[in-house]
């Protein structure tokens, strides 16, 4: 290696190639440049001309210089130049890397790997093998082992494969491994990539290593030194995470991030170690709504401190710093399970014995007030106690018997919080032991018809209770309360008073728990407290009195809890590795954290128990002072920078330039002909032009893309084919169906499933639609077949329903849909199509109609009266023939109901109307009418027109009947 100030060459002997440059110069001078080619008509005059100058034309000096420069750069690049080369390694033997890869090694692990890899590369340059010893146990629990000597390239791979482990390192075991390797006399260079913590065996290991060779210890800088995060006691209301550091020097900023089970950040907060502080416990402010989602709090080192001023720049810098915040590993991650999150609260309620209006009941008010506080359950007291609750609320309206009373008593002793509400029942009760204070019988009424007193407002709260500091600015008033018997300790038991100093909330410590009494009702019977926001806050604070309740999963105390999710070495929650073993439930707190039990969540997916690493670490001190002769350094990334690639790039660019210039000089660069006359400027301008071309090309492409996109957008809009979009089964899609049906007045027929009848129906309605378009203002569109069981009928004013035997019975949904259709203005024409057979009697088709219409709201029917609107809505007619004649057309009895503007909802006929209306594509009738004649067909069309008009215009024509009378009246 040749070192020239900050520059060094790894292969200096290749620089000898520079000696060849003068030869190259000479060659370039002697060899004439390639001639440029010119087509010239007057060449005949040139033949035979002798140039008086014999020296061949040489390439211009600047071109030769360019080429020489490129050649020199290539030679330099081959010699592998390096900027700021690393100092060489000490000693002559192998490079031994001791790598701490315990929980504390996680911060900026990538930097450590890079540093180690660069050390390995130095060893490779010097031709020295590398041996690696990690200090943490492997996931399978195997003690650390020193690797065999390996070449640098493999060592770099091995370093890349290392990752920190979520358990403490074992330096004693590492020491044992080192002793087994017998490296004495190897003159090794030893680098210990330490995690910055002291631990058992550290001193011995240092001594041992200094004995083997020259030791240098790398420790992380203060910003990234490890931290411990210890979750708060389960059940407390404040989320105060204790953060501990190994030393107490200087000021240190940390960021606490609360995360959900999926790693998503819920809240973020920064905290600060002042100089001399080893431990802080910042309180995380998490919205109550997301608190139940809390799975972990990770402590992170903020990014490099922003030094900018205030304002926008500062904000941006802060965000940038948050983005690059470095997690500090598994020990700096506090896991939270249900003990912290869920607050099961119960309201004692007995559905069987509760009386009164549901929306005025105390249980209802408690329900609403407790919903944001925790998981609410309503059950009789014994069930609540069995299922485990933080707090139990007992409204006055729920009576409890003696057995429950005893159970509640015992439950309070064990740490439960029972909140009772007073009320008429308690006021009338004799001796009730389940109150914090002795009560007077009867209670006190502050407001009523015979009272002069005003209802009392809330007065004060005691300094010592959970209500201390509560904002009492509330409109709530108390009209009635129960009064405590005066006693000596009443003052100590009172947490809240009315403005006349009578206690409103009293409490008593019983065993480990609390018995709290609110001296009024939980509903509005006695006070308006239950309507105020204060009520919710009071209940919240009362709930937080209670300790957390471990989820009561059934099973023995020592049942094994399998790992669900564990932390990896970086403090991320991942799937538990196969090497993780279950922990017996009763040893959760005491199980040693190691390869078998990595920190994480144990139990089941629904009942998870957090096993934290932070609280288990007691010996948490910084790396001790090292004896003189041991070098200390940080993990700052290596400043060494290989330059070969950049020089290659420069040489390549120069050669490219040379090629361009040569093209120009030979006159072969298209469009550059004019430049060929300028000599020195030509090359530079050509290069500039090439760059400009490169810059323009993507822009042009982008413009082209934009053009393409606009072209694509254009024709997509308003395609009429949307109207006919069909689903995979060939039917119209819902949307297309709606579009078709709603875009014009559409006659619809019911598809029977018989293709022949459906075809006739369609042809018939087509013919009717044609007649309507010809003769009336109704612009009827192409008819549409509908399936009453699936399609939306609300688009159609009139349904033509041919009745066949084969039609299936309607299911309830279809019946409901039909009833809705009829109720909302629809009209159905049932056509039994059998008038020629039945002659007015019942027939098979009539049975079919009866079967189909079962459940449909068919009104009472009557033959069409002679003065019915149907007889005059467009044409005046009395008979309603179809393909057959002589059949009676039945219609809803007029005046039976005023729905639907008096338009009959149901018509029943048997004359096969569609058969008479049906036309083919050429407009010719499809079927003969019987007994026959154009008049019959015409009359059937007229009936169709009248029917559609009737369905569309309602009783308009019926009103016309009264015109003469109205005019007569007006005339008078």
């Amino acid at each position: 290696m040749l070192t020239l100030g900050p520059l060094a060459f790894l292969q200096p002997w290749l620089l000898a190639g520079l000696l060849a440059l003068p030869v190259l110069w000479w060659l370039l001078r002697v060899l004439p440049p390639a001639p440029k080619t010119v087509r010239f008509p007057a060449i005949r005059l040139l033949f035979g001309l002798e140039s008086p100058e014999k020296t061949p034309d040489a390439a211009p000096w600047w071109l030769i210089l360019l080429r020489l420069l490129a050649a020199a750069l290539l030679i330099l690049a081959i010699a592998s130049p390096v900027l700021n080369p690393e100092r060489g390694l000490d000693g002559e033997g192998p490079l031994v890397l001791i790598v701490d890869d315990g929980y504390a090694a996680a911060p900026a692990w990538g930097d450590r790997q890079a540093r180690l890899a660069s050390l390995a590369e130095i060893a490779g340059r010097e031709g020295r093998p590398v041996r690696i010893l990690t200090t943490a146990r492997a996931p399978d629990g195997a003690p650390p082992e020193i690797s065999d000597a390996m070449p640098a390239a493999r060592a770099v791979d091995a370093i890349d494969a290392l990752s920190p482990k979520p358990w403490p390192g074992d330096r004693e075991a590492a020491l044992a491994a080192l002793q087994a390797a017998s490296l004495e006399g190897a003159q090794a260079a030893i680098v210990w990539a330490a995690d910055g913590l002291d631990g058992p065996g550290t001193q011995a290991l240092v001594e041992r290593l200094t004995a083997i060779g020259a030791l240098s210890v790398l420790t992380p800088d203060d910003r990234l030194s490890p931290l411990l995060a210890i979750p708060p006691r389960a059940g407390v209301s404040d989320l105060a995470v204790t953060v501990r550091r190994a030393d107490a020097q200087g000021v240190r900023e940390v960021t606490l991030t609360a995360r959900g089970p999926d790693g998503r950040p819920l809240a973020r907060q920064s905290a600060r170690f002042e100089a001399g502080e080893r431990e802080i416990d910042p309180v995380l402010d998490i919205p109550r709504a997301v608190r139940n989602d809390l799975a972990a709090v990770t402590v992170e080192a903020p990014g490099a401190a922003p030094e900018t001023g205030d304002g926008v720049a500062d904000e941006a810098a802060r965000q940038a710093a948050e983005r690059v915040a470095t997690p500090l590993g598994p020990a700096a991650t506090a896991l939270f399970d249900e003990r912290w999150a869920r607050r099961p609260v119960g309201v004692v309620s007995d559905a069987g014995r509760d009386v009164g209006l549901a929306l005025l009941s105390e249980v209802y008010y408690l329900d609403r007030a407790l919903a944001p506080v925790g998981d609410l359950s309503r059950a009789p007291a014994d069930i609540l106690i069995r299922s485990g609750q933080t707090a139990i609320f007992l409204p006055d309206s729920t009576p409890i018997d003696a057995g429950e009373r005893a159970q509640l008593q015992a439950w309070i002793e064990e740490g439960g919080v029972l909140v009772r509400f007073a009320g008429p029942r308690l006021a009338q009760a004799g001796d009730d032991a389940l109150t914090p204070v002795a009560l007077r019988r009867g209670g006190r009424q502050l407001s009523g018809a015979l009272q002069w007193t005003e209802p009392a407002k809330i007065g004060t709260v005691s300094d010592f209770g959970p209500f201390a500091g509560l904002d009492l600015d509330s409109e709530a008033v108390v009209k009635q309360q129960v009064l405590a018997e005066p006693s000596l300790d009443l003052e100590q038991k009172t947490w809240m008073r009315l403005e006349d100093d009578t206690p409103l909330v009293t409490a008593e410590r019983r065993g480990d728990g609390w018995l709290v009494l609110v001296h009024t009702t939980a509903n509005t019977e006695w006070s308006t407290l239950a309507l105020s926001g204060l009520f919710v806050e009071m209940l919240q604070r009362l709930t937080e009195l209670g300790a957390g309740v471990a989820s009561a999963a059934p099973g023995a105390a020592d049942r094994p809890l399998a790992p669900v999710q564990t932390l990896d070495g970086f403090g991320r929650l991942v799937q538990a590795p196969v090497t993780a073993r279950p922990i017996p439930a009763d040893q959760l707190a005491s199980a040693p954290i190691g390869p078998a039990h990595p920190p994480g969540f144990y139990g089941t997916e629904t009942a998870r128990h957090a096993v934290n690493l932070g609280p288990t670490i007691e010996d948490f001190r910084p790396f001790p002072e090292t004896p003189p002769g041991v070098a200390r350094a940080g993990y700052a990334p290596a400043a060494e920078r290989p330059l070969a690639q950049w020089i290659y790039l420069a040489a390549f660019l120069l050669l490219l330039l040379d090629g361009l210039v040569t093209l120009v000089l030979r006159g072969q660069a298209p469009g550059l002909g004019a430049l060929s006359r300028g000599r020195a400027g030509g090359g530079v301008a050509a290069a500039g032009l090439a760059l400009a071309l490169l810059a323009v090309a993507p822009g042009g492409a982008a413009a082209q893309n934009a053009l393409d996109e606009t072209q694509e957008v254009g024709p997509g809009v308003g395609q009429s084919s949307d109207l006919d979009a069909r689903g995979p089964d060939g039917r119209l899609t819902d949307e297309a169906f709606a579009l078709r049906a709603a875009s014009a007045t559409t006659l619809a027929y019911v598809r029977t499933g018989d293709p022949e009848i459906d075809r006739i129906s369609e042809a018939g309605l087509k013919g009717l639609a044609m007649i309507l378009r010809q003769r009336t203002a109704v612009e009827a569109a192409e008819p549409l077949g509908v399936d009453v069981r699936e399609d939306d009928l609300s688009f159609f004013p009139l349904l033509y329903w041919p009745v066949t035997d084969g039609q299936p019975t309607l299911h309830q949904g279809a019946v409901d849909r039909l009833n809705e259709f009829l109720a909302n203005g629809g009209t159905i024409l049932f056509d039994t199509r059998d008038a020629h057979l039945s002659a007015g009697r019942m027939s098979a088709a009539s049975d079919g109609l009866r079967r189909i219409a079962r459940g449909v709201d068919i009104p009472e029917l009557t033959p069409v009266p002679p003065d019915h609107v149907l007889t005059k809505s467009f044409y005046l007619m009395q008979d309603f023939p179809g393909r057959w004649t002589g059949d009676t057309l039945w219609i809803e009895k007029p005046g039976a109901a005023s729905v639907n503007d008096g338009v009959a909802r149901v018509l029943v006929g048997g004359a096969d109307f569609a058969g008479a209306w049906a036309i083919d594509d050429a407009g010719r009738p499809l079927f003969p009418v019987s007994p026959g004649g154009d008049r019959q067909r015409e009359l059937s069309y007229r009936f169709g027109v009248n029917l559609v008009m009737y369905a569309l215009t309602g009783n308009y024509k019926a009103d016309q009947v009264h015109i003469p009378a109205i005019l007569e009246r007006l005339g008078q």
Partner: protein, 278 residues
């Protein structure tokens, strides 16, 4: 240009068939009665005959070099020599036709024509079927040895870089038939000045072969001498045949060449007597 040309240069200054009044002449016995100008005669006792100036149209044969060497332009802004030559040909044809001459394209086996139709025919031959005549490309820059009518005029446009002897022989052939005319040598400025520098490979455009020159600039003077000598030889050949040699460069405006050409054909031409002698 057109106004200049329109002034009567076509008058033959003698009595003959024509439309312009020339003189009144007393009636003679051999004159037909219809020749009497009754209006003039009525003013006196004798009869007069009205005579017009003889306006015989000249037949002019035009030719433009269509060989490969004419497809050359040294710069992007310069027109090709061939384009310029055809432009000059068409312009002079238009002027001649306006002057009442009869014009034909050489080598097209065409009869001299008059009026717009002839111009259109020439333009058609020249522009739409430029290579329709294989003889034009084979002749390698020389006009075809065509038998022109005696006393016809010829206008030849080309670069005339062929050996001067060949051109002289061709001109002598024309002169033998008493065909007069002018050569218009259309040259690119680069052919005049040889502006190239450095090592250059010259490629002929008519398969003359390649030539590599080490330093072109050193040949410039010798080339200029040769060019001068070639032109001198051309002029000699023209003089001997009684023709005119005009030199036009493509960087000059074509109007200039046309004006020179017109002057040469009309006034300054020492052989303009020929026009009169017809």
């Amino acid at each position: 240009m057109a106004a200049t040309v329109a002034q009567g240069v076509h008058g033959r200054r003698r009595v003959g068939m024509g439309e312009t009044f020339w003189q009144y002449r007393p009636f003679e016995a051999h004159d037909a009665a219809s020749a009497v100008d009754w209006r003039r005669s009525a003013r006196s006792d004798s009869l007069f005959v009205r005579e017009t100036e003889w306006e015989a149209a000249q037949s002019v044969w035009l030719w433009a070099d269509a060989s490969a060497s004419m497809r050359y332009a040294s710069g992007r802004r310069l027109p090709m020599k061939g384009d310029r030559a055809r432009l000059l040909l068409l312009a002079s044809a238009a002027l001649l036709l306006r002057g009442g001459e009869r014009v034909a394209l050489m080598g097209a086996e065409d009869r001299p024509g008059m009026g717009r139709l002839a111009l259109e025919r020439i333009a058609d031959r020249l522009l739409l079927h430029p290579s329709g005549d294989p003889a034009a490309t084979l002749s390698l820059g020389l006009p075809p040895e065509e038998r022109l009518p005696r006393h016809a005029q010829a206008l030849l446009f080309g670069d005339f870089l062929s050996p001067a002897e060949e051109i002289a022989a061709r001109l002598a052939g024309f002169a033998a038939h008493r065909v007069g005319g002018a050569l218009v040598q259309v040259l690119d400025p680069a052919e005049e000045a040889l502006p190239f520098v450095g090592r250059t490979r010259f490629q002929g455009m008519e398969a003359e072969g390649d030539l590599v020159v080490g330093r072109v600039e050193s040949l410039r003077e010798a080339y200029a001498e040769r060019m001068t000598a070639h032109r001198a030889a051309l002029e000699d050949a023209c003089r001997a045949a009684g023709w005119r040699l005009l030199v036009h460069h493509t960087d000059q405006p074509p109007e200039q060449a046309l004006l020179t050409l017109y002057m040469a054909m009309a006034h300054d031409d020492p052989h303009s007597a020929r026009f009169g002698a017809g």
